[in-house]
Amino acid sequence: MSLVARHLEANGIPTVMFGTAKDIVEHCGVARFVFLDFPLGNSCGRSFDADHQHQILELGMQLLEHATAPRTTVQASGIWNDDDAWKQLIFTDDQPFLSGQALENWMTAKQRYRDKKAAGEL
């Protein structure tokens, strides 16, 4: 996503990124970034909370209006819940990131990728 944002910026289209993985976005480097410290899946605000989603979006609009240099990050307000269990557990052996059907789908997609690569289609 960040690579696409960079390409648009480099070719004259301003962008604003909304995301929850601060390190990944900043590692790549984008022009404007609204960071929300929520689990992956809620880049634009709390689910079914239009007010919060508006706050997030408005931060992005203000960033578009006021940022004067690339790599400008603002952190949106909002705490996911009272404990940080989700932060402790994501990508740990105690809580596999993918399981069941999602894991099967991922393995299938990977195999398809390998097959296509082996066949010279990629």
Partner: protein, 165 residues
């Protein structure tokens, strides 16, 4: 509030622990390109570009990834697709903590429409764009990103809202 999750470190350790010996190398740049707004937001045409694998529900089942509108890993949807028909097929999110049931939590189409109604932004572009995430940074940079740019230029987009899940 505790520090943000360090996903790069966390995923590297996680997949090493699962037996993968070659850590994924996340894209890295010291600098970043920057384009200032060319006109006021209230006069701007806005597109969403998303990796949330957004799709349209169809009565006959799932959407085919290789549909005729896709080029490489890029596809587009009409921006006026009713929200009730949209859903995400993305599975790479924190399934233990949240759901993707509310499309606007990662693909803010209703919220952007409300900004148009308020006059905060000018209008929505006719199409919004999806990019399937892939392993190849080269393909993303050399094929997918230029295709998104081409479509945005074709639609005379003034700015893009970028949303992963």
């Amino acid at each position: 509030m505790s520090a943000p999750v360090r996903y790069i470190d966390r995923t590297r350790d996680y997949y090493l622990g699962q037996g993968y010996d070659k850590p994924y190398e996340w894209a890295h740049h010291e600098d970043a390109p920057f384009t200032p707004l060319t006109k006021p937001l209230s006069e701007s045409r806005v597109a969403i570009v998303s990796t949330s694998d957004i799709a349209v529900k169809k009565p006959d089942g799932d959407r085919d990834r290789d549909n005729e509108f896709a080029v490489g890993n890029v596809y587009s949807l009409p921006s006026d697709t009713p929200i009730d028909l949209l859903y995400s097929r993305q599975e790479h999110y924190d399934q233990h903590a949240t759901t993707l049931d509310d499309v606007n939590a990662y693909y803010p189409v209703s919220r952007l429409g409300e900004l148009v109604d308020r006059g905060r932004i000018g209008e929505l572009a006719p199409r919004f764009h999806g990019v399937y995430t892939g392993y190849s940074k080269r393909k993303t940079a050399e094929i997918d990103a230029p295709e998104v740019l081409r479509r945005c230029i074709e639609d005379e987009v003034d700015l893009a809202v970028m949303t992963p899940v």
